[in-house]
């Protein structure tokens, strides 16, 4: 037993090395960096700046607000979609169609929208037929929300779908037998029992939306500043890594809070 363990540990050396070097160390370094100013001197000033100046707090709240709208929109579109999917006969094929767009590069999807929404773009041409063009569509808050929601839809559909197919059909049948209308069944039986899927969907959409910096740049025209945009700006443009790291830590905390609020309260049956 011990010799077998030793051999296993031998195999594990590169993996553990990776864990320390690329998982633990980067996060520790980021925390350290957040306590440094531009001249690499230890300081608290980044955190003081963040919480004292209204700009950073407003930006954070804005980012959370936009992410919440995007999450809500995706949820509203995805829940009925997942429901319809879960009732289909050959849902395996349809599910694959839901998954396929997630394999298309995110930037290409964003790029498609530049063509669709630009001043002479197809959406504006269409609006022209109805006499309400040209509208400024690209580089607006709405376009950011639209594109972000578009990108996140599959990530919301799948967890909800999974919880819907795991739902025991005898429960909905029972509700029907007891005289519940379709709406009542949905509201009081199906939705509460699939809330776990909704929660994982919210997790899968809300956190990435907080950090979508390329969409804000390409589609939002720097009007919407998310936490991700701010981090990118501080690291790649102004080179203020300390402040960038501080915002990074805020993002990690926001992520932890989101995970905590949407955690699965009941113990999972199947371990994974």
């Amino acid at each position: 037993m011990t010799s077998k363990n030793k051999r296993t540990m031998g195999y594990m050396v590169p993996y553990v090395f990776w864990l320390v070097l690329f998982v633990i160390l980067p996060l520790v370094l980021m925390v350290f960096q957040s306590f440094q100013n531009l001249y690499h001197q230890p300081t608290m000033s980044n955190y003081v700046d963040f919480f004292k100046s209204g700009t950073y707090l407003r930006m954070t709240l804005n980012s959370i607000f936009y992410a919440a709208i995007v999450t809500l929109m995706t949820l509203l579109i995805s829940y009925p979609m997942a429901y319809v999917l879960s009732r289909l006969k050959n849902s395996q094929f349809w599910l694959l169609l839901v998954i396929l767009p997630t394999w298309v590069n995110l930037l290409l999807k964003a790029y498609a929208f530049i063509g669709l929404l630009s001043k002479e773009g197809s959406v504006n041409q269409f609006l022209g037929f109805m006499g309400i063009a040209p509208q400024q569509l690209l580089f607006t808050d709405t376009s950011f929300i639209l594109v972000a929601a578009y990108i996140e839809i599959p990530f919301m559909i799948l967890p909800i779908y999974n919880s819907l197919v795991e739902l025991d059909p005898s429960l909905t049948n029972a509700a029907k037998d007891l005289g519940a209308s379709a709406w009542q069944t949905l509201r009081q039986v199906i939705f509460p029992l699939t809330i776990g899927g909704v929660k994982s969907g919210v997790q899968a959409v809300f956190i990435p939306t907080l950090s979508l910096f390329m969409i804000t740049r390409l589609i939002g025209g720097n009007r919407v500043i998310t936490l991700g945009t701010a981090i990118e700006e501080h690291f790649m443009v102004t080179q203020n890594w300390g402040m960038g790291s501080t915002i990074g830590i805020v993002l990690v905390v926001a992520m932890a809070i989101t995970m905590y609020l949407t955690r699965d309260r009941k113990q999972k049956k199947r371990g994974e």
Binding site: T8, M12, L19, W103, I114, P208, M214, I231, M255
Partner: protein
């Protein structure tokens, strides 16, 4: 019956919503004109432009080299990592290893990118091919572990004991029993790592430096300057590549799961696995 109609039309509506932008973009790759607004005739010249663009071609090559190398190394390290986690008997240590493994999966890309940038700078590494390769290996390893570990857990441990009783040494047990059994998971992890790497933008963007570029980073740079229909041609091509990869992946997974699970369970697990990538 009426409700059925409603459901189907909603399904069609959402699918149109999901696919319209993608097909719109691919459609204009065949435009004779230079804009994504009016289709002036069929032409393949943007594909010609794309293939004669030497910079783009070398970036394409770089992207594939990075994807292939990083996935290979990540699969190697990740498989042995999964093996190690599988063999770890103490529950506490196992849980710690698993949570550490998941950190990179759940962290936002910007955080991974920025923290890797700090790391590489601290070690004085020049940003470029090496840093991008290291970063891609690093973020692919947890995916591989996630794909391989369930296969190992599924395995009947009596198989190992039997092999040992029959006098197999550890190396033989590994190469004749464990690895063949876990093989579909390893292969799936490898494919997942490749697409993960091909697709990544945010992390690469942070660690790529000035001279080196991958496809996503290049698309980002070009898209910021506006429409360029060779990007459309490129995206048409990449859509085909994605389609092929999905099919390969799907084939591997359905073949390996046929015997062990019911159809419904299989679907749930598959959809979970295919979307861990983010």
């Amino acid at each position: 019956m009426k409700k059925h109609y409603l459901g189907t039309s909603y399904l069609v509506f959402v699918f149109i919503l999901m696919y319209a932008p993608i097909f719109y973009m691919i459609f204009f790759a065949f435009n004779r004109g230079n804009y994504m607004t009016s289709f002036t005739g069929f032409s393949l010249r943007h594909f010609g432009n794309m293939f004669s663009d030497r910079r783009l071609m070398s970036i394409l090559l770089n992207t594939f080299i990075i994807a292939f190398l990083s996935s290979l190394l990540a699969t190697l390290i990740g498989t042995f990592g999964a093996l190690g986690i599988y063999q770890t008997k103490q529950k506490g240590i196992k849980n710690i290893l698993l949570s550490l493994n998941n950190i990179l999966l759940v962290s936002p890309d910007v955080i991974i990118g920025a923290s890797f940038l700090i790391l590489f700078t601290m070690f004085g590494l020049t940003l470029g091919f090496g840093s991008v390769l290291l970063a891609h290996i690093a973020f692919s390893i947890p995916i591989v572990v996630l794909m391989v570990l369930p296969r190992l857990n599924e395995m009947n441990s009596a198989l190992i004991s039997a092999a040992q009783d029959l006098g197999a040494n550890w190396r033989q047990v590994l190469s004749r029993v464990i690895l063949p059994y876990a093989w579909p998971g390893i292969l799936a992890g490898f494919f997942m790592a490749i697409t993960y790497s091909l697709d990544d933008f945010a992390v690469t963007f942070f660690v790529t430096g000035n001279g080196f570029s991958t496809l996503s980073v290049e698309i980002y740079a070009r898209a910021r300057h506006g429409i360029d229909l060779s990007i459309n041609a490129l995206s048409a091509l990449m859509f085909m590549v994605s389609l092929i990869l999905v099919m390969i992946y799907y084939y591997i997974m359905t073949r390996s799961k046929k015997s062990t699970q019911t159809k419904r369970d299989k679907m749930i697990v598959e959809s979970k696995e295919m979307v861990v990538r983010r």
